[in-house]
């Protein structure tokens, strides 16, 4: 590497690592993500889980013998209702979990009912309170019980009624498809955040402070300044992205529910991580270069942030595409589009479907885009309109 590139890199890195506030800005997101996601997972778990020993309070009007027997077998105590209106109010007040209202002569009417006979089917009314987790759980249990009873009355055939395992996806595949759906978007956002936290400061900030011209009157080539800055920014942005990604990967099992078996980043091998690292590095280079060019147009750091906004929206849109794409694209053309190719590669790595050709093409395209960006940035450093537009 040319010594002037290395000198510029060293200076940029020294500026970032010498500034405690900037260090906190860069590394804090990972810690925050871990804490916030873990807290959210725990809070949501508490919100949607019920105490296993909890016995729901259920009342029924005209409880038929058939359902009474089923409820007893399922361990659901059902009391007879004395006043339907009062019981409905109790459900609203969350003092009662469920109120079942059966039509008169339910068992007889069910036995006599013939589908397609023109008569209305006997209707069971179940009153519950969706604001109460206990009431909702009781509603789902009783609905399931009644559905099963209804199926048993006219049982013609069963589906997957045996004790075997019918979903043949491995735990790794299942977890992989979850990661492939969620992580590319999150990673793209984190990488963008990392790049946008450092690039405007280094380019527009130097213009704003009048320090870039001091460097431009040295015999250092403009392209060396551009390369040195982009490489140093990429390292810092990678650290920021890595911090965020690590926080997410560690917190995701907690967010999704720790009881989900196999939901862990352990499913990936060293090869997967190497592929991911290569894709992330090339993505960061593209992002840093793009934000640097936008920042060079800006007169201030604030203006650079607003110029970068469309890029942020683009990155988010591209990231979201992984959630609906059903895994990595098989078309090589998709890997020729910068940023979209990164998302496709990430989805491919997470879902174990990445190919060497796709990753290679992505890295080549992103490398080409970065080189083009360096050329543009070097030209911009030569432009008096750009450098002195203050």
């Amino acid at each position: 590497m040319r010594s002037s590139i290395f000198t510029i890199m060293k200076k940029e890195l020294a500026r970032f690592f010498g500034d405690r506030r900037l260090m906190v800005t860069i590394l804090m997101p990972g810690v925050l993500i871990y804490v916030v996601y873990s807290f959210m997972g725990s809070a949501m778990g508490d919100m949607f889980s019920t105490d296993e020993d909890y016995v729901p309070a259920i009342q029924a009007e005209r409880l038929p013998d058939s359902v009474s027997a089923l409820a007893e077998a399922a361990g659901l105590p059902v009391e007879l209702c004395a006043d339907v209106e009062a019981a409905r109010e109790a459900v609203t007040a969350q003092e009662l979990d469920l109120l079942l209202v059966f039509p008169e002569g339910f068992d007889g009417r069910v036995a006599a009912y013939e589908p397609g006979g023109g008569q209305a089917a006997p209707n069971v009314e179940i009153y519950y309170n969706s604001a109460s987790t206990d009431s909702q759980t009781a509603y789902m249990t009783v609905t399931g019980l009644l559905d099963a009873y209804e199926s048993s009355l006219a049982n013609k055939f069963d589906v997957n009624a045996g004790a075997g395992t019918y979903d043949l996806a491995t735990e790794e595949d299942a977890a992989g498809s979850y990661f492939a759906m969620l992580l590319p978007m999150l990673l793209m956002i984190f990488l963008y955040s990392g790049c946008s936290a450092v690039a405007p400061e280094s380019i527009a900030g130097e213009k704003e402070r009048g320090t870039i011209a001091t460097m431009l009157i040295t015999p250092t080539r403009r392209s060396d300044i551009a390369v040195g800055k982009i490489l140093a920014l990429a390292i810092v942005a990678l650290l920021s992205g890595a911090s965020s990604a690590l926080g997410t990967i560690l917190a995701l099992p907690k967010l999704m529910g720790s009881e989900v078996e196999g939901f862990s980043a352990d499913i990936y091998g060293i090869g997967d991580y190497v592929l991911l690292a290569v894709v992330i590095l090339s993505t960061v280079l593209v992002l840093v270069t793009a934000i640097s060019i936008l920042s060079a147009f800006a007169k201030t750091v604030k203006e650079a942030a607003s110029y970068s906004l469309p890029l942020m929206i683009l990155v988010m849109l591209v990231g979201v595409s992984a959630m609906f794409g059903g895994g990595a694209s098989r078309s090589l053309g998709a890997y020729c589009i910068p940023l979209y190719n990164s998302v496709q590669c990430m989805a491919g790595v997470f879902s174990f479907s990445a190919t060497g050709t796709a990753v290679g093409l992505t890295v080549a395209v992103n490398g080409g885009v970065t080189l083009l960006g360096v050329f543009v940035l070097a030209k911009m450093f030569n432009s008096e309109k750009i450098i002195f537009s203050r």
Partner: protein, 258 residues
Amino acid sequence: MRDILQVQHLSKTFRLSKKQQKLERTKEKVRVAVNDLGFTAGEGEIFGLLGPNGAGKTTTLRMLATLIRPDSGDALIDGKSVVTEPDEVRRRIGFLTSELKLEDCFTPNYLYDFFSDLHRVDREVRERRKEDVFTRFGIDRFAEVKVANLSTGMKQKVSLAVSLVHDPEIIIFDEPTNGLDVLTARVVTDFLEELRSRGRTIIVSTHIFSLVEKLCDRVGIIIDGQMVQCDTLANVTQGESLEDRFFQIYKETAGDGQ
């Protein structure tokens, strides 16, 4: 004496934005900043560019420092063209202006090393020069203090030291004593005289008459982007004070009532 700087028919125009046109209440789309400028400076000479604000002094110096390209004409520094050999020119010049700032988060020591590396100054030479200049300017006591925490005068001294890390043949200073207290200004002017005695050529732009009278061997008066007078100080002043002579020339050139 060899002419180490030769400025030949240098011209530069700027396109005015609509905002600038509105601010300056003009319908002109183009502003001529420097118009067919020519002068020379010899080795070991201090050349003063004198002119009012907006005369084109800073634009001229920026062109000499290769920060902006002339529209036409050229300037040769030790035979190297600012248009076709800007890297070679940058090796030979030191440029200091109040526009060029040092990064606040670094120490003078770090910045001196950084710019020495960019100029590829040998480590031994760098350390020797650093010790000399830091001691001379009293920077040594603040060598490890961040620039942000230095006084304005000390910042200017550090800027001066940093702009000379490569011991350039030509030193270009835009308003060298602007905003400095009298003590620091004296240190700077003394240093410029010492550089001259070491054979270095110094180009200063200023509108401070006393500075030109004290320092400069030759002076060029720029008005509206044109060199209206360029000669030795004695020939320009013709026995009068520089200030009186300047206003006479200005009146003749720019017209009455201005």
